[in-house]
Symmetry: C2
Subunit: 352 residues, 2 copies
């Protein structure tokens, strides 16, 4: 290792948007995040598993197929209507594994604690994590604790990584979406982002909006039992449904066409979004999935989702096309078509 790194001569392997420094938008799950990963991280760590840009890596170890995923949680505030950083940290990584079709089994926990955090808050967080792990059916088997100086954190950051077993015959990946496939979402969109937003910066809405944070592995198991030939699964967290679908369209080199009036959205979320000038398609979810599968199986898949408590508002929201590869469009309520581009920077800072 070089002892005095030469920063001045470091050259970005691919041209990046004009930011010499990290901005908040680099963490927003949109185009800036994508740039950061594709232009700086991928060229350095060049390998197939990472390049798939899935929610985790599918690995072959000694003849078995494992899913491996990691996520850091830096949400503010730590507790919000319907959940906490503890729920997100467990469910988020469980869901990333489930989106590879894996059965999540084991989690690691890395706590970065800010000096001065009351022990009662830390105790509550670990107890909530343990409860969330029990509900999701996973074990927290290894961990690490670091403390940083007062003022150099936000109370608590949590990283969880997870391991799951991918059953034989399951081949789920962003690039497997095919023209003719149907696009399903498992329920109301935008709840999590608006729930966090509602308690931040003094914003308050008349109706309480609750985060949808939930483990999706149970629903995925039910869905796969009904329709094993699922092509793609994705949980639309940061950047929302719009950014997830854009990533899939790019990865599979297909177009995706949505129908605005098919999108399940709670009236209170729609109203709050309108008030704040936000598009619910870009608002984060923490307990929803997008499933892409052959159209012939769409009704069967929809039925199996709706039989699960987390999927009762599931809907078919669009289709995959051979036209306009890499582009997502939606038919507006007045019949026109508009392009649903990838979010550029940050819409709702640090909601997961």
């Amino acid at each position: 290792m070089s002892q005095s790194p030469d920063f001045d001569n470091w050259i970005c392997p691919l041209p990046l948007r004009d930011y010499p420094q990290i901005v908040l938008g680099h963490g927003g799950g949109g185009k800036l995040s994508q740039d950061l990963v594709e232009h700086i991280v991928l060229p350095a760590f060049n390998n197939g598993a990472l390049a798939s840009l899935a929610d985790g890596a599918a690995l072959n170890i000694a003849g078995i197929r494992l899913a491996f995923s990691t996520d850091s949680y830096v949400v503010r505030p730590l507790f919000f209507p319907g959940g906490s950083i503890a729920d997100l940290a467990v469910n988020g990584t469980v869901n990333d594994l489930a989106m590879l079709g894996a059965q999540p089994m084991f989690l690691s926990v890395g706590l970065i604690i800010e000096e001065g955090l009351p022990l009662s808050i830390l105790g509550t967080v670990v107890e909530q994590m343990a409860a969330a792990a029990r509900i999701a059916g996973v074990q927290i088997v290894t961990g690490d604790t670091k403390v940083v100086d007062k003022g150099h954190g936000d109370g608590l950051y949590i990283n969880t990584s997870g391991i799951g077993l991918i059953p034989d015959g399951i081949q789920i990946a962003p690039q497997n979406a095919r023209p003719g496939d149907s696009v399903l979402v498992s329920g109301m969109i935008g709840d999590h982002g608006m729930a966090v937003m509602s308690v931040r910066e003094g914003l308050e809405f008349e109706t309480l909006i609750i985060s949808d944070s939930a483990p999706l592995n149970g629903m995925v198991a039910v869905l796969l039992a009904a329709v094993p030939e699922i092509h793609t699964l994705r949980d639309p967290t940061r950047g929302g449904v719009a950014s997830s679908l854009n990533e899939i369209a790019r990865a599979a080199d297909v177009g995706i066409e949505l129908e605005d009036n098919q999108l399940p959205i709670r009236p209170e979320v729609a109203a709050a979004c309108e008030l704040l000038g936000l598009d619910p398609l870009y608002v984060a979810n923490e307990g929803k999935l997008i499933a892409i599968l052959p159209a012939a199986q769409a009704e069967r898949a929809l039925e199996s989702l709706r039989h699960h408590p987390l999927g009762k508002d599931a809907a078919i929201i669009g289709q995959v096309t051979a036209e306009h590869p890499g582009i997502v469009t939606t038919k507006t309520s007045i019949g026109g078509r508009r392009i649903v581009s990838m979010q550029v920077g940050e819409q709702l800072p640090r909601i997961c």
Copy 2:
């Protein structure tokens, strides 16, 4: 999940030292860290793999044995003589897996980046991580990036988690140390901690002290080939050799007796420690291991370590006893015996 957690009524499952809030020492790898883990984390996440308190978890999945480990790196400054946060993040997790006797295979990377970090620094860090992964023979297969507001981080925190394969027949764990075993260390102690200390707070020594950050998996493979019946391996990072041996003595319910004059220490590290009033036994290492194994194999193990470039200064530093279980002692240079207790709080803040 409760929507309004009741912090006032949260009760610590076991009495904790008198700190209602997190202090820096809770992250120091000593007694306070141990209290935090044993009194708050373990009771919540209660399970066998975690309770072993090894550097990682040994798991059985579909008939194979996997090692799984996680670590967060919050070192300041990001670059120091002989290494950087990038080397630590790769080598630290590689070493945690190697200490279970596993062959490290795959790493995840979670970056928590502070707004305002120059992209050139981030680019240098990921390139150094990629280089370290190549040297260690592991692949970085999945990752996550979050950005936190300016002033709420220290430029960059990194979490790495890792998966390795434990070969058949290997049974390495802290609780396997047995009376009569020899205690070996693979080289000079205290280099990493003093290297970081030397560039912090304006301290400068006449001689440059270089971090020992290195991947230990190659040396562990050589050691295991020579002496398969290794009982315990540990890399003495935070809290140093003293804290690692105290953890082993407690886990295995044995005593450990060191010989002060057998401890390999560079003269410049010894001098710097003396200047600052520090005991090198408590200073962190990032490229050394402690091996505990039957005395009859000690010479053979020593020889195999010394044949490896990272182990040329290896030494037998003590023995495991049935007496004073849970206690580590050392014979001083004037012939007396003193107790080497666990570090209480933080000796060198945030050196890994």
